[in-house]
Every structure is written in structure tokens, then in C-alpha cells.
């Protein structure tokens, strides 16, 4: 991530311009009022001068004094008012731009593919959404304006100084040359350090996040100490970077304050010599130094303002780094819409490799061909890490195939709008994510229209199918808040709520990734039974590790070495496929008994013919498995 920031300061800040269009005039007004406030402050001494020169002599009338005081008072009120006005002009638009960028950032992140999120810790993203944009706003509302005001003040001041004495002005200006040169190196080193510190702060947030989400592991192994050490190490790195940053700024401040002062020292000596030589009068010399004193303040604040600008640049770079990340999974240009979805799902020559898999490594999915008939329940079986979950993720397009296609009712899913596709396809993941919301909201989240059923009935039905009746016994029943912010449920409870959610969506295609793994046998059996009944018209692809899950499927597909190597009923595969037996054979101490029990039901041609179905490329599951349709009836 780091060190990609070779963009120049201006081009980085320039990216902000499109966001400023609507508020440009208000920023300008803010700038003008800030200038006006400085000018008013400068004007007050002029009143004293006039008063002292004309009115303030013992015995003179009080009228001029009253008028003079009145003017000073009005100018004083004006100064304060201009200060109020500057904020009024700038704050609302600046915070509006900030908020707009923040929500835009969030929206963009939601659109970005899962693959992006796998790479980026949420702490890192958070620091970009919060502190970077906060910083950018502050720079916009204060830093940028003050930088302009400061620069103008210095320019006007130096011009005044030149008008008084070009020799002295030249001496003062000479200091600007080394400052400018040093400014360039400062910009580079400080910019780099500020980038590093902001990155480190983001990483630190990620460490915090992990330490809390992984608290069970840390506690179970008593590794709090090690976690703390590693956190402390990273926090110290950040500390070192921050101190380095401060040193770099201090160095710059040293140069920026020292050089003008040295120039003034020279100016003082030269000025006195000039006066001595009769080339300059004392009044002008005094005025010169009075002006120099006015300019000194702004010159000193150049350092902090410049560092603020550099940090704002970094913040913007980090912001746009994410904003420019390309969304790899998008809606098609010319979307097709499916009128009536039957739910026939086909994987055709599907290849998949993660985008950042090193070249040469084998693809995870290497030519998967699989066809699910509409309404069919298909179990997907394979060893741990064979790519089952990945294959499932392709259906709602959480990932896109690298080659080949996934088709829904014969239409490539990439031709559908994402929202439409994900209405047709519903998933229940193994690692269940519930949202901070009530049970009801969570279950009805993606719920489709169920003709003739009220939301309460839909909820009840979904919970019943998923055997999640426990929800009614929670403190506030189905209105109990769950998820991150709410009640913590056990793994099995979460799985059942997530399952209910997937069911309530009433999709054409249901994708279940080992959704029953945390359930006990009895519950699992009840869920399976109910699922079989309600999934009558739903094409279901379910990852199974257990014979019990497989039992509810019409057919089973075996995923092996990135391909589907066999499709058939459980009994068929158990009989005819060694790998299948290896993957799914029981752990029972007496597996032989199971086999002998099965022997009777096996087809006679066992071992003589080819595998009933070996779905290679182009080879589609064929008709002689129509028996599977009837098997559904017998299972009930």
C-alpha cells in the first residue's frame, strides 16, 4: 500500500476539485471574510495613529475621542463578526462535502467485490472513512484558507517592505530562497512519514479489531500477553513514526523561523548603516521593522500549515486509493431480465482462481461442469479445501468465474443485474453473519412476497422450518436484538436463524454451505426433513460433509481436483466411487456393517461397467437418473 504516493501535491489535492464545485463560492466567501478580518485588525492601529497625531492633546475637545473610540469599537465588532462569518460560510459546506465523500466511500466499499474485502482489514478501511476524511475537512475549512491568507499577508508585507527600502527588502527576500529549497525536501520526507503514520494507524485499528473478534482464541490459549506485545510493538512503531514526523516538522520550523530572523538581523545592521549614511530615515526603518513583525507571525505558521496540507494530501491519496479500486463485479451494460425463473442451474466449464494467486499455481476450480434441474436438491461433496464453498460463492456472484460460465435457466448470470440475480439466489453461509437487528428483521431481510401470508406468518414458517422456535423464547421474543450489537447466540442458533433467513427469501435457487454443521443430530434431522418438504420447488445446492445431509439430496456431485468427477445418488456413488467412499464413508468403528447392509441395494453391474455418471466436460448428467425424482417421495 505504501510508497505508491508518487502523485504530486497539486494533482492529489486537485482530485478534491470536483467535490468543491457546488461550494466553491462559499469557500471563496470564507476566504474573503478571513482576509477582511485580518485587514480590520490591521486597520485599528491606523486609528490610533490618527487620534494621537490630531486629537489627543491635553485641553482638546472630547468629540474626536468619542468618534475615534466609536470607530475602534465598530472595527473590533467587525473583526469578531468576520470571524463568525468565516465559519458560517465554510463549516456547513465543508462538513457537507466531508459527509458526501464519506457516504460515497461507504457505498463504493459495499459495491467492491468480496475479493477486495478479503485483502483489506476493516480497521484500515475505517481509518480512511473516519480520520482521513475528518482531516481533509479540517484542512479544507481552515488549513487551505489560512494558507492562502498567510501567503497573501506575507506577499503584501514583503511588497510593503520593498516599497520602503529595496535593499532591506532584498535581504529579507534572500531568506526565502533556502526556505523554498528546504521546503521541497521537507515536503518529500514529511509526506512520506505522514503516509506511513496514517497507514500504521489503520493497521493498528485492524489489530485491535482482530484482538477483539479473536478474543476467544486469545483467552483459550492465554495469549493475551503475546497479543499485547505485538500490539505494543506496532503501537511503538506508530509512535516512532509520529516522533519522526514531529522532528521533521521541527526542523522545518527551525529553518523557517531562523532564516527570516537572521535576515532581519542583517537588515538591522544594514538599516542602521543606511540611516547613518543618510540613505534612509529613521521613521522608515521603524516602519520596516514594524511590518517585518507583522509578517513574522504568518511566516512562522507556514510550517504547521504546510504540514497540515501534506497530511491532507496523504488523506486524500488514501481515500482515492480505495475510491479508484475497480469494482470487478458489476451490473452488465445491457441486462437481461428473467420473466419467470424456473431455477435450472448450470456450471459450464467453470474455472476459478483467486486474482492474486501466483502464476503457475493450479486453479482452484478447473473445468467444473454440473447441471441442476429446476427444483432439484443437489449435494456437493468434496474434501476440505476442494473448493466447494468457492463454487457456491460463484452463484450469487460474490466471485466471478475466471473462465466458463454459470447459467440460470440457460442465461449467463453475468447478463443479469446483480440485484435481480441475488433475488433469485439466496444463501446460508457456514460462518453466519447476522445483522444488528431484531430476529424478525434478520429473517425477513430478503423475504420475498408470499402470497396470502402476513410477514408474521412468513417469519413463523421460516423459523419453524429451520427449527428456530427458540427465537420466541428470547427475552423479547422475535423482537430481541441480535447480531454484533445485540444478544449473542450460540453457533447452532445463529445457523438456524441464517437458514430461516435464506428460506424466507423464497428464492428460485438456494445455496447452502454446510448450514447444519453446528446442529445436533436430532435437530439436524428435523431441519433436513422440513427442508425437503419446503424446498419442493427450489433448486438447492448444498455442501455436505455428512451422510445425513447428503440423504436429503436428490443427487450428489463429487468435487475432486477442481472438477466434478461424479454425479449420482448417494447409494450409487457409495457403491461405485472410491473417492466418494473416502470422503463420505462413515467413521463408525464398524463401517463394514454399513457396506454389507448396502450390498443388497446396489446395482448388479457394480464394478463391471463405468461409473454411473462421470461428468466430464461436455458430459451432462443424463436421463437414467430420473429415478432420483421419485426418491424424493420415498424419503418422506
Amino acid at each position: 500500500m505504501a510508497n505508491k504516493d508518487e502523485t504530486t501535491l497539486l494533482s492529489s489535492l486537485g482530485r478534491l476539485v470536483p467535490h468543491l464545485k457546488t461550494i466553491a463560492w462559499r469557500l471563496l466567501a470564507g476566504l474573503l471574510t478571513a482576509l477582511a478580518a485580518s485587514l480590520v485588525a490591521l486597520a485599528i492601529p491606523q486609528v490610533y495613529r490618527v487620534l494621537v497625531n490630531t486629537a489627543l492633546e491635553p485641553g482638546k475637545g472630547t468629540g474626536a475621542l468619542w468618534v475615534g473610540t466609536g470607530v475602534v469599537l465598530v472595527l473590533g465588532i467587525l473583526e469578531a463578526w468576520f470571524m463568525v462569518l468565516r465559519r458560517q460560510f465554510v463549516i456547513v459546506p465543508a462538513t457537507t462535502v466531508e459527509t458526501r465523500m464519506r457516504t460515497g466511500f461507504y457505498r463504493h466499499l459495499q459495491q467492491l467485490a468480496v475479493e477486495f474485502h478479503d485483502r483489506w482489514g476493516s480497521g484500515q478501511l475505517l481509518s480512511r472513512a473516519m480520520s482521513d476524511l475528518n482531516f481533509m475537512r479540517r484542512w479544507m475549512a481552515f488549513g487551505a484558507i489560512m494558507l492562502v491568507v498567510t501567503a497573501l499577508t506575507v506577499v503584501i508585507g514583503v511588497a510593503l517592505m520593498f516599497s520602503m527600502s529595496w535593499e532591506l527588502g532584498l535581504i529579507f527576500l534572500a531568506a526565502a530562497v533556502p526556505i523554498t529549497i528546504f521546503g521541497f525536501t521537507f515536503r518529500r520526507s514529511y509526506g512520506r512519514a505522514s503516509r506511513r503514520s496514517q497507514d500504521q494507524a489503520g493497521d493498528l485499528a485492524t489489530v485491535v479489531e482482530e484482538s477483539v473478534r479473536g478474543i476467544r482464541v486469545l483467552k483459550a490459549f492465554g495469549r493475551g500477553r503475546e497479543a499485547l506485545d505485538s500490539f505494543a510493538g506496532q503501537a511503538q512503531e506508530l509512535q516512532a513514526t509520529e516522533v519522526h514526523k514531529a522532528k521533521s516538522l521541527a526542523q522545518f520550523s527551525l529553518v523557517v523561523t531562523l532564516l527570516p530572523e537572521l535576515a532581519l538581523a542583517a537588515g538591522l545592521v544594514v538599516g542602521i548603516l543606511l540611516v547613518n549614511g543618510g540613505k534612509l530615515d529613521v521613521g522608515t526603518l521603524v516602519a520596516f521593522f514594524a511590518t517585518a513583525a507583522v509578517v513574522a507571525g504568518p511566516v512562522e505558521s507556514v510550517g504547521p500549515l504546510l504540514s497540515m496540507t501534506l497530511a491532507a494530501k496523504t488523506a486524500l491519496d488514501r481515500h482515492f486509493e480505495v475510491m479508484n479500486a475497480e469494482n470487478t463485479i458489476t451490473d452488465p451494460a445491457n441486462p437481461v431480465s428473467l420473466e419467470q425463473v424456473h431455477g435450472a442451474l448450470e456450471f459450464r466449464g467453470v474455472h476459478f482462481r483467486f486474482p492474486d494467486t501466483p502464476v503457475g499455481a493450479p486453479a482452484l476450480l478447473n473445468g467444473v461442469n454440473l447441471e441442476l434441474r429446476a427444483g432439484e436438491i443437489m449435494a456437493l461433496v468434496g474434501v476440505t479445501g476442494s473448493g466447494k464453498s468457492t463454487l457456491l460463492n460463484l452463484v450469487p456472484r460474490l466471485f466471478d468465474v475466471s473462465a466458463g460460465a454459470v447459467l440460470l435457466d440457460g442465461t449467463d448470470i453475468r447478463q443479469l443485474r446483480l440485484a435481480e440475480l441475488r433475488t433469485h439466489v439466496s444463501v446460508a453461509f457456514e460462518d453466519t453473519t447476522l445483522f444488528s437487528n431484531s430476529v424478525r428483521e434478520n429473517v425477513l431481510l430478503g423475504a420475498a412476497d408470499h402470497p396470502g401470508l402476513s410477514p408474521d406468518q412468513i417469519l413463523e414458517r421460516a423459523l419453524e422450518v429451520a427449527q428456530a422456535g427458540f427465537a420466541y423464547t428470547l427475552p423479547h421474543g422475535v423482537d430481541t436484538l441480535i447480531g454484533e450489537e445485540g444478544l449473542s447466540l450460540s453457533g447452532g442458533q445463529r445457523q438456524r436463524i441464517a437458514l430461516a433467513r435464506a428460506i424466507a427469501a423464497k428464492p428460485a435457487v438456494l445455496i447452502l454451505d454446510d448450514p447444519l454443521s453446528a446442529l445436533d443430530v436430532n435437530t439436524e434431522e428435523r431441519v433436513s426433513q422440513r427442508l425437503r418438504q419446503v424446498l419442493e420447488a427450489t433448486t438447492t445446492l448444498i455442501v455436505a460433509h455428512r451422510p445425513s445431509t447428503v440423504a436429503m439430496a436428490d443427487r450428489v456431485a463429487l468435487l475432486q481436483d477442481g472438477r466434478i468427477t461424479a454425479v449420482g445418488t448417494h447409494a450409487e456413488l457409495l457403491a461405485g466411487n472410491d473417492h466418494y467412499r473416502h470422503v463420505l464413508a462413515s467413521l463408525d468403528s464398524e463401517p463394514r456393517d454399513l457396506d454389507t447392509g448396502l450390498d443388497d441395494e446396489l446395482p448388479d453391474d457394480l464394478g463391471t461397467g463405468p461409473l454411473p455418471v462421470a461428468a466430464g466436460p461436455g458430459d451432462q448428467p443424463s436421463e437414467h437418473h430420473s429415478s432420483t425424482n421419485s426418491s424424493r417421495g420415498t424419503a418422506e
Partner: protein, 638 residues
């Protein structure tokens, strides 16, 4: 540790409840979302946050003093410049123009100016660095404190307090403190010094003007009070709203798959926009308060200047005051008010930091309900004998989950716990791993109450592997080594080999050095479980607790794990123990028959009670719940 007692909410309490139930208190993190606190509560949390600030300052007080001294010195050096100019024009110039032309005063002026400039700029640079060091040291201290404390807090707390909230404490709240420390100290110190010096010089010049300037303190005080009250509420709500924004953000990003799969994008974005708008509004509110406060101070200053001009002017007209003196007084008065802007900024960041520290100190005030003992009983080599005696457990004030339980697990026994989801199996495991403490009765390991064991001894002896196999950023090897950080690479690989994870790890792009978040290092849920199993193997405890630890494994992997487990459990606990060879104690919670069948003993749990207890064969023969379950399993295997 402060003697504050946490309102113990059962895990069965949710955020709403947390707020309503504890509405009467602002103790700890309870009710931290509330903005309007009663007077007493407000004072309490304010004091708490100032106290925290003070404890942070204490260890660095020398450095703090040095920093302040540097600030004061640099201010003094800055004052020298104008004085030298005056000297140059008033003395060096006449000396030069005078006959003979004395060059010395000019040289002194020029040299002095150079010296003053060097000193001022060097001191400025020094205090900038010193301030950063100071502020970073305090931040690091607080960061580590918060981190350590969150690690110490019990599971009970973590089950109610989200990661998003802790992140917001560690990020945006600390950011507010950082602002105070970075700019506050120097502006406060230099401002104060400057104002005091100027006030003194005004009084010595003319006491009437001095009184006028002093009189301006009254409206300034009133304005500050007004600002303090308003900004406190504003900053407090800003902390609350920003935490909400952060929590929502984190929840979305960690659950992005579900967000996409269930098309939550639009609803989420609407919610986030709402929160971001709230955040914008509170930000604008606090800025606007400051936007009244700061110009208000300038206004008071300017009005005072006008008053000085009027009063002084009359006295000049009356001949009681010199014009030059009036001019000097006017400039001095103006100068007196100059640092006020900085002081206001300090006050502003102080208010913001205080609100942030209110939240942070609340988190630090939470007391872990599961605490390490004061005088631990050493247990260097545990055998693994577990005994529950009249043990009872409930979450907080909730209903009793485990009613009086008596259970003895002799060292070396492998016990399977079965029962329906929610029967209380996991509670047993959590008690044994001391995620929770029994609320009555006792739970001992080798005759020592778990509450009396140091956490080092306890965690060496007892290790729990849960269903959620969490992997941390880092390499696969690092994740396994979490089990025993001192392990060599060979030991890490052996542990992986023992659970059958070696093959798939070697197949990853960089083998054991593959980053689990990067470059094809993504591992499946089953593989995550294997890695976390390897962790437990490496930890090599006397008591191993497995809570559904194999649920995502396929059968061949599970078989490998079981073989490894069998080897581990039957191996001698510790060479040092010297006693008779006994294996390891294991408590296995499983929904799968295979795991249960190989156990020495089976416990059937129902509603927190052990309803059946015996060897698998005995229970089968007896024909109770276990026999029933067993039948169901048998069926499920076909």
C-alpha cells in the same frame, strides 16, 4: 483498579436493555450512549476522565515540565528580538552617528539579534519535538492500557460490547486526546506566560488600565462557562454518534458477503447516510459553539481596548496621562488578548478530549468478572483431574443455567458431552476453560480451585478449541504458533502433521509462510478448524476442551484429526510429573457419533443437568437418551 462494580448484565441483555436497565448509572460502559447525564453523573464521568488524564501525565511529569520550560524559554527568546531592535535604533544608531562612530553598540545589536534568533528558533524546534514525544508517550501508554484491559475483561463483557465500540475507543477517541496533547500544551503554556507577563507590565504602567483589563475577566468567565456547558453536551454526543457510525461501518465490512448476498447495500447506505448526517450535525454544532466562543473572546478583547482608549483618552485630555503611555497601554492591552485565540483552541480540544476520555475511562472502569488470583497456587505440571462440587452457574442475574452440579473427571479420561443445542454443553466447557466462574460451589483442577490458579498455569493446563476457528493476520505458521509461541518451526510442522493439516498447508503458495489474508492464502472453514486444532496440539495441555471443534471438517479430515487426537490424549502429560502414566483429560462436545463412540465416558446433558453418565456401551445398554441419539446417528450415517 477502581472499586467500581459493574452492573452485570446477563449475555441475554441487549443494547436496549443495557441502556434502560442501567439508566440510573453512568458507571463503566453502562449507558455510554446517553448524552444527557444528570448533574451528579456528569460530574462523576468528568472527574473520571480528568483523573485518567492525570494518571497519564504522572509518569511523564518530568518530560512535561521540560516541555513547558522549553515553551516558556522560547517565548522569552522571541520577546528579545523587538527589544534589540529598539536598542539598535535608540542607542546603536546615535552612537554611530556621533563623532568617531562607535561601532560597538551596532555589533552588539546585530550579534545579540542573531543569538536571540538562534535561541528562539532552536527552542521552538526543541519544544515541538518534546511536545510530540510527550503526547506520543501518553498515547502509547493509554493505547496499551486500553488494549490490555480489553484483553483482561471477561467473555461476559465481550459478548455485550462489540468490537466496533472498542475500535472506536481505540481510534477516534484517542484521536481527540492526541489533538489536545499535540497543540494544547504549547498553546496553553505559551499563552499563559504571555498573558501574565503582559498583565504585569500593564499594571506597572498604569493600574487604572490594569483594572479595566482585569474587569474583562468577568464576561470572559461567563462566556467560558456557557461554552463549557454547551460544548460538553455537544462533544459527548459527538463521541456517541461517531461510535455508532464506526460500529455500523465495521459490521458492514466484516459481514460484506451477507450484505451482498441479501442485497443490503441500499438499506445499509441509507442507514449509514443517516448516521453520517447525524455525525455531521453534531460536528457542526460543536464547531459552531467554538465559532461563537472564539470570536466572542476577540470581541471582549476589542471592546476592552476601546474602553482603555476612551478612559485613557479622557485622562490624556485632562493631562493625567502621556500620549506615549496611552499608546503603549493600548498595544499592551491588544497583545494581552492575542493568545486568547490559542487558549480558546486549547479549551476546545480539552472539551473534546474530555468527552472522549469519559468513554475510554468508562471502558477502563469495567472490572473483569473473571479475575486472576492475588496469591495464586502454583501448579507447574497439572495432571488433569477435574472436579465440580455443587457447582452452580448463571449469567449475571439471569436464570440458573447449571443447577448444582457434582462431577468428577479423573485425569486421563476422555469425556464426551452430548445433548440438544442449548442444553448447556458449551456452558460446561466455558466453565472449565474459566471463561466464566461458577456462581456457587467450586470447580477444581488437581484439587486447586480454578480461581486460585495463575492464568499462566491455567492456560498451560487447560486449552479450549471452539467451533469458530479465528485466524489472525499473519502467516499460517504464526497462527499455529499461537498455541505455544516458543515452539520451533519443526514443532509447528509436527503439530500440523498430527492433525493432518500438513499436506494442505504445504500446498499453499508459500507453505507455512503463506499470509492467511493474502495471495491465495484463503483457507476454507474446514482448513481453519484444522489450523486451530494444530494450535491446540502445539499447546499440548493436560486438559483439552473441544467445543464442536470438528463441525466443518469432512470425514477423512475428521478421521485424521481423531487419530492425532487419540495419540495426543494417550500420550503422557508431563515427564516432570513423575507419577503413573496417565493420558490427557479431554472434554469433547460433539454432535457426531464418531467422536463420541471413542470416548471413555459419555455425559448426556439436559437443561443444565447431567441426566446420563457412563461408558458408551453402558448407556447404549441402558436405553435412555443416549441410546436414542445413537440410533438417530446410525440412521444418519447411511
Amino acid at each position: 483498579m477502581r472499586p467500581a462494580k459493574k452492573e452485570t448484565g446477563a449475555p441475554a441483555s441487549n443494547a436496549h436493555e443495557r441502556d434502560s436497565k442501567t439508566a440510573a448509572t453512568a458507571q463503566g460502559t453502562a449507558g455510554e450512549d446517553r448524552v444527557n447525564l444528570s448533574k451528579a453523573e456528569g460530574r462523576a464521568v468528568r472527574e473520571r476522565s480528568v483523573r485518567l488524564l492525570r494518571t497519564l501525565l504522572r509518569p511523564v511529569r518530568v518530560r512535561f515540565a521540560i516541555t513547558v520550560a522549553l515553551v516558556v524559554l522560547s517565548q522569552t527568546a522571541k520577546v528579545a528580538g523587538p527589544l534589540l531592535i529598539a536598542y539598535g535604533i535608540d542607542s546603536a544608531l546615535p552612537a554611530l552617528t556621533a563623532d568617531g562612530g562607535d561601532w560597538l553598540p551596532l555589533a552588539v545589536t546585530g550579534g545579540g539579534y542573531v543569538l536571540a534568533a538562534l535561541a528562539a528558533s532552536w527552542l521552538t524546534a526543541a519544544y515541538l519535538t518534546a511536545t510530540a514525544r510527550l503526547s506520543q508517550a501518553m498515547l502509547l501508554d493509554l493505547r496499551i492500557q486500553v488494549f490490555r484491559h480489553t484483553q483482561r475483561l471477561s467473555m461476559e463483557f465481550h459478548e455485550n460490547y462489540t468490537s466496533g465500540r472498542i475500535i472506536s475507543r481505540q481510534t477516534s477517541d484517542l484521536e481527540a486526546l492526541r489533538e489536545l496533547l499535540d497543540s494544547g500544551i504549547s498553546s496553553l503554556a505559551s499563552g499563559l506566560v504571555f498573558m501574565v507577563l503582559t498583565a504585569v507590565s500593564i499594571f506597572t504602567l498604569d493600574w487604572v488600565t490594569g483594572l479595566l483589563v482585569l474587569g474583562s475577566a468577568v464576561p470572559m468567565f461567563l462566556l467560558s462557562r456557557w461554552y463549557q456547558k454547551r460544548s460538553q453536551a455537544a462533544y459527548r454526543s459527538s463521541r456517541v454518534v461517531s461510535a455508532r457510525l464506526i460500529v455500523h461501518f465495521i459490521e458492514t465490512m466484516t459481514g460484506i458477503r451477507a450484505v451482498k448476498a441479501f442485497r443490503r447495500e441500499e438499506d445499509n447506505a441509507a442507514r449509514y447516510e443517516e448516521l453520517a448526517e447525524d455525525y455531521r450535525r453534531v460536528t457542526v454544532r460543536s464547531i459552531n459553539l467554538n465559532g461563537v466562543f472564539q470570536p466572542g473572546l476577540v470581541l471582549i478583547g476589542n471592546v476592552t481596548v476601546a474602553a482603555v482608549l476612551l478612559v485613557g483618552g479622557f485622562r490624556v485630555l485632562g493631562g493625567a496621562l502621556e500620549v506615549g503611555a496611552l499608546l503603549a497601554l493600548l498595544l499592551a492591552t491588544k497583545r494581552f488578548f492575542q493568545p486568547l485565540g490559542q487558549m480558546a483552541m486549547f479549551y476546545n480540544s480539552f472539551q473534546s478530549a474530555q468527552a472522549a476520555l469519559e468513554k475510554v475511562s468508562g471502558l477502563l472502569e469495567e472490572v473483569p468478572t473473571v479475575r486472576p488470583p492475588r496469591n495464586p497456587v502454583p501448579l507447574p505440571a497439572a495432571r488433569g483431574d477435574i472436579r465440580f462440587t455443587a457447582a452452580e452457574f448463571r449469567y449475571g442475574d439471569g436464570p440458573v443455567v447449571v443447577p448444582s452440579l457434582d462431577l468428577h473427571i479423573p485425569a486421563g479420561q476422555t469425556v464426551a458431552v452430548v445433548g440438544a443445542t442449548g442444553a448447556g454443553k458449551s456452558t460446561l466447557a466455558k466453565l472449565m476453560a474459566r471463561f466464566y466462574d461458577v456462581t456457587a460451589g467450586s470447580l477444581t483442577l488437581d484439587g486447586v480451585d480454578l480461581r486460585e490458579l495463575s492464568s499462566t498455569d491455567l492456560r498451560r493446563a487447560v486449552v479450549m478449541v471452539t467451533q469458530e476457528a479465528f485466524l489472525f493476520s499473519g502467516t499460517v505458521a504464526e497462527n499455529i504458533a499461537l498455541g505455544r509461541p516458543s515452539a520451533t518451526r519443526a514443532e509447528v510442522e509436527a503439530a500440523a502433521g498430527n492433525v493432518g493439516a500438513d499436506a494442505f498447508i504445504r500446498a499453499l503458495p508459500d507453505g507455512y509462510d503463506t499470509d492467511v489474508n493474502k495471495r491465495g492464502g484463503r483457507v476454507s472453514a474446514g482448513q481453519r478448524q484444522l489450523i486451530s486444532f494444530a494450535r491446540a496440539f502445539l499447546a499440548n495441555p493436560a486438559v483439552l476442551i473441544l467445543d464442536e471443534a470438528t463441525s466443518s471438517l469432512d470425514i477423512p479430515s475428521e478421521r485424521l484429526v481423531q487419530e492425532g487426537l487419540h495419540r495426543l490424549l494417550s500420550s503422557n502429560v508431563s515427564v516432570r510429573s513423575g507419577g503413573p502414566t496417565v493420558g490427557r483429560t479431554a472434554l469433547v462436545i460433539a454432535h457426531r457419533l464418531s467422536t463420541v463412540a471413542s470416548a471413555d465416558r459419555v455425559l448426556v446433558v439436559h437443561e443444565g443437568r447431567i441426566v446420563e453418565d457412563g461408558s458408551p456401551a453402558e448407556l447404549l445398554a441402558r436405553g435412555g437418551r443416549f441410546a436414542e441419539l445413537h440410533g438417530a446417528w446410525q440412521d444418519s450415517l447411511i
